[in-house]
Subunit: 123 residues, 2 copies
C-alpha cells in the first residue's frame, strides 16, 4: 500500500511515517515511480510504534526493541550481543517501573472520581 493508505489506516501523518522510516523503525520498498510501498503488516507495526512513543520511549529505544517483538518469533541470535541483552533488560525494567507508576496514579484518579461521584450523588 502507499503512504496515504497507511496514513489513514493508522491515523498517522505522512510526515511521521517518513520520519519513522528515517529513524529506522519501519521500512518500505519503492515502486518504479519512486513511491513508497508498504507491507500490510506495517499497519500493526505503526500502531505499536505510536503506543510506545506515547508511553515515553524514544525512537532510538523503540528501534532496538522492535526486532524482538515480531510475532513469529524470529530469534535474532546473531546480534544478541551481551550489550544488546543488557539494553533489553534495562528497558524491560524501566517499562515495569513505568507500568507501576501509571497504574498507581491511574488508580488514584479512579478513586478520586469515585469519591466525586459519590459526593455528587448524595447531594
Amino acid at each position: 500500500m502507499r503512504i496515504g493508505e497507511l496514513s489513514e489506516r493508522t491515523g498517522t501523518s505522512r510526515r511521521l511515517l517518513r520520519y519513522y522510516e528515517e529513524r529506522g523503525l519501519i521500512v518500505s520498498t519503492r515502486c518504479a515511480n519512486g513511491y513508497r510501498d508498504y507491507d500490510e503488516r506495517l499497519v500493526d507495526r505503526v500502531l505499536q510504534i505510536r503506543g510506545l512513543l506515547d508511553a515515553g520511549l524514544p525512537t532510538r529505544i523503540i528501534k532496538q526493541i522492535l526486532p524482538c517483538l515480531d510475532k513469529p518469533r524470529v530469534i535474532y541470535f546473531p546480534d544478541a550481543t551481551p550489550e544488546m541483552i543488557a539494553t533489553l533488560e534495562r528497558e524491560r525494567d524501566r517499562m515495569t517501573e513505568r507500568v507501576a507508576c501509571l497504574t498507581r496514579n491511574r488508580d488514584a484518579i479512579s478513586e478520586y472520581l469515585d469519591a466525586v461521584r459519590e459526593y455528587n450523588g448524595q447531594r
Copy 2:
C-alpha cells in the same frame, strides 16, 4: 529544605525543580534572603512528577491530575467541574492504554530474553 537538598534527594537538577515550579507542579515558600524553601513532602511529589513525565505525560496534564493524588484525600469539589471530570476520565483511560501497551511489549521482551537464554544455555 533548600533547592540543593531537594535536588540531591530526588536526583533532579535544580534547573528542573525551578522549571516544575514555573509550570505549577510544585510550590515553594521563600526565605528572607529569597532562597526557595521546600516542604519535606515535595521529595515524594517530585519523584511522582518524574515518573509521570517519564511515562509520557506532559506537565500540563500532570498539573491537572496531581491535586487528586494527595494522600489524605482532600476532595476538591469546588473545581470538580464537568470539564475537569471529563479530563480526568480521559487521562485515566489513556493511562490504562499506556499500561496495556507497555505491559504487552515488556512481556514480549521478557519472552525474547527467555528464548535467548535458553538458546545460549543449550549451546
